[in-house]
Symmetry: C2
Subunit: 200 residues, 2 copies
């Protein structure tokens, strides 16, 4: 195990606590404990709770959203792209299952956080729109708004994860193993569902 410097330890501890508890529920004391230091040092490196939160939020956002655009790059056939995207994205979410709800919730409480991030990351989804519209013109898929197709794919990937407690309890009588089994199947079945829906 490599010895991390203090700044790294703080960010890592802050990620854990903020993502688990949210901005309002997190405590600077808990972050300090998690990092194995004291509160004063937190304020020495990051001036305030809000500033430290912004660092964590930006990291979480960066790890999820821009990859989305990249996954639609590549030379494959359109349907293969969808298959690959779903699998890649579900694997990413599987490794960090609490990040989507963290981002969604903090943005719903303060949508302004996006403004600075968007210009900073300069996400450009026009290429994805172009690819979809091209397929529509080629008549390989049915008429659909590019935005709507993207929303549909994302919905099917993200919602079952963020709503896991409800899905598992209500649809699977609380059995996590059955929930997990379906989530594993979905790595391929989501793409099949989408392709069936749009194929001409």
């Amino acid at each position: 195990m490599i010895e991390k410097n203090t700044e790294e330890k703080i960010v890592q501890a802050a990620e854990k606590v903020f993502i688990e508890k949210g901005l309002a529920g997190a405590r600077m004391q808990e972050i300090a404990d998690e990092a194995g230091i004291n509160k004063a040092l937190l304020h020495y490196y990051y001036r305030s709770k809000e500033k430290l939160f912004e660092v964590v939020f930006k990291l979480a956002f960066k790890s999820f959203v821009p990859n989305l655009v990249k996954a639609f790059d590549g030379p494959e056939d359109f349907f293969t792209k969808i298959e690959r995207f779903v699998e890649t994205y579900l694997n990413l979410i599987e490794k960090n299952p609490h990040i989507p709800i963290f981002i969604i919730n903090e943005l719903s409480k303060n949508p302004n956080r996006l403004v600075s991030l968007i210009s900073y990351l300069n996400i450009d989804i026009q290429p994805i729109f172009d690819v979809i519209e091209e397929e529509i013109e080629k008549k390989t898929i049915k008429q659909i708004e590019p935005q709507e197709l993207i929303i549909n794919i994302l919905s099917l990937c993200v919602f079952p994860i963020v709503a896991k407690p409800m899905v598992q309890t209500i649809l699977f009588k609380g059995y996590e193993s059955e929930y997990n089994a379906l989530m594993k199947k979905r790595k391929s079945s989501i793409a099949q569902f989408v392709i069936s829906a749009i194929k001409n």
Copy 2:
């Protein structure tokens, strides 16, 4: 305007503040102000913040989840049921757009809240499973796990609402009018998408 009694005023104020700020972010003082009373009275009627929150959470949950089951009742043709369900549910969400993220987020922070609710509301989704399996047997729709079909429909309805800030900013360059236009279209297009995906 009918004069409400104190208990009603408190619950209504608590709903507003808790749903907007979440359990951790809400303040008893703000709820008291919103209700036009003082903090002491809050504790007189509901012993603690947690107890008051439980009342609000139960109300929010009750207003959303059980209706879901009822919407799949009725004599119509299966595809019409899906159409009617999506439209009904989207109208419900449109009127209370912050409740889904509230429920999802508070459950992700404390999944135990579900346990008491489930037995209390005794939600039985078996009838929906039966309807779906019947359609599969009749070969009107493709083979699919009933749970997965339900998840897919719910995902398409709920996700775009809870992720509104992101969807609006990234997919619609921030224009709320374009976001709203698509959401309006989705009252029918979600069902069409699902039906295309499963139809035999």
